[in-house]
Assembly symmetry: C2
Homo-oligomer: 321 residues x 2
């Protein structure tokens, strides 16, 4: 069994090549550009780890891992257009560098090339792989749409927010693990447990993301602490605060959401403290983590094989940046 870091280095080396034709360079250089910006490659490595639970990592697993990373980058390129984001991981976004039309098309071809990767695998597995991949791709689009819809709504329920976050971010991690398991020859029950493990880790990860943005150590947290608050972003924290605050706190929060005063972050954080939002978020994250671990335990695979996945889960959820 390999560790996340070993597989990540291995994947990075294999993935670091041209994934597109040379011509027209005006299109394909834009697609290649985002792939080189990197990232932690958590999703494709999850494919490899999902596979290695059940068998050796083979070419089919690498093909699916490529497809997942291409899909993930396709969604980043299109999301960045929608969000009008100038930067990603410190680099210019594709539409900033190459223009919106080229970024749109570059995203499109990345999705097509992802499907081309899936078409490389053993024919006996193509249908189940394509089925899960396409279902997940639709869900990720649904999550992005719901996220945009929620921006226009004053009040979002925790249930609706959870559903949106699950679609937008968790199902892709879940599907990556399950796709690896399919390639590895896992039975349906094991596939399902692995999917649920990934889904719940994904939700816990997002809670942590929201948490760090508000309560992170500025020295360790790479971004500006309080960025979500300044952007009036709906987060687990804000939604919970709005649901438990008393009338006075609720009024103040709603007023703060409509201003950009200098003390906005500190005043929102004060309300979060009064409402014990940090404690609630920690418990919620713990709950999802525990559900994930339960599914990992239920996997009919020896404990020694599962160790690296549990380590990955703990690593993802104990980061401070």
């Amino acid at each position: 069994m390999h560790s996340f870091l070993e597989l990540s280095a291995d994947f990075e080396k294999r993935f670091d090549k041209r994934h597109f034709p040379v011509h027209p360079a005006t299109l394909y250089d834009a697609a290649q550009y985002i792939l080189r910006i990197g990232g932690k490659r958590v999703r494709p490595v999850s494919v490899l780890m999902g596979c290695e639970l059940f068998s050796e990592i083979n070419d089919d697993a690498y093909a699916v891992a490529n497809a997942i990373e291409l899909f993930h980058n396709f969604s980043l390129v299109h999301d960045d257009i929608m969000d009008k984001a100038p930067l990603r991981r410190g680099f210019e976004t594709v539409h900033t560098k190459y223009g919106e039309s080229t970024a749109l098309l570059a995203g499109d071809v990345m999705l097509v090339v992802a499907y081309e990767q899936l078409n490389q695998i053993d024919t006996t597995k193509i249908q189940s792989v394509l089925r899960l991949f396409s279902k997940t791709a639709k869900e990720v689009c649904e999550g992005q749409q719901l996220d945009m819809d929620f921006e226009k709504i004053a009040m979002v329920s925790l249930e609706d927010y959870l559903n949106m976050i699950t679609l937008k971010t968790s199902v892709l991690l879940a599907a990556s693990l399950q796709l690896g398991a399919i390639i590895g020859g896992a039975g349906e029950a094991n596939q399902k447990h692995l999917y649920e493990f990934g889904k719940n880790i994904g939700i816990a990860f997002q809670i942590q993301d929201d948490y760090l943005d508000a309560f992170g150590d500025p020295e360790k947290f790479g971004k500006q602490v309080g960025g979500d608050i300044l952007a009036n972003k709906k987060t687990f924290l804000l939604i919970h605060a709005l649901s438990v605050a008393n009338d006075k706190q609720k009024e103040e929060l709603n007023q703060l959401l409509q201003t950009n005063s200098e003390d906005k972050v500190s005043r929102v954080l004060k309300i979060y403290a009064d409402c014990k939002v940090a404690e609630w978020a920690s418990t919620l994250k713990e709950n999802y983590f525990n559900i994930a671990i339960k599914h990992l335990e239920e996997l009919a695979v020896s404990n020694s094989r599962k160790a690296e996945l549990e380590k990955l889960a703990r690593y993802l959820l104990q980061r401070e940046s």
Copy 2:
């Protein structure tokens, strides 16, 4: 054997249903909207006709036809965003009606649902169908990128324009016919002839499109005659005129391209007449039509089976609007 019109009515009836989940309606209603606007359904019906050359039209052929029509509409939705087009077939474009972000996502899910349709077919054929479909999808994106690139270049060669048009519009018709043939069980040589038939008909169709825009009968032509001239659009006609015009004509043409004077259309048409552009275009169109018919003749299928395809080709190329 069925006629184009019979198969078109049949396809229309089957295709007229919800192709997407109900929720979130903010996303999927936008995707469904463009499908209802209609069109001639030439490409999906070509799948059915390509299949019927070799066997009965079965569920796999309908699934591929659905995928082709979904893909075509995906490309229209994204192209309309890039072209900032307010209308399509007299209706508001998706981004005009639902906003650019939703249109972008709606296009994305349509592409995914197209692949879901392909995943319905017999496993023994999935790989070759996916291979051709994805290759074609990339080419259509390449064609759109080249079209945008050409807008920024003063002079485009006929060869480059032809390549762009082939990618942007002809390969999808060609692939539709070949995909139908694959489903129908055709051998590779027959598949190839059918592809070339469709590709050359597609090119001839585009020459006719450019021709009608300049020389069409205003009574029969639905759009404003001279629209391409007013928009300085690179067309077969303009590219040829620029390549054969004498220095004086060339200077006048280049000047006209930089103005929007009232007599722009009539003055460009005068140069086209002096350069015999109409005659050249008619001959060029005829040449591609003849190449197409030659490939149809080479098909190892009885002539009676081919009759409807030849009729379709003549119908597409003899229209006046």
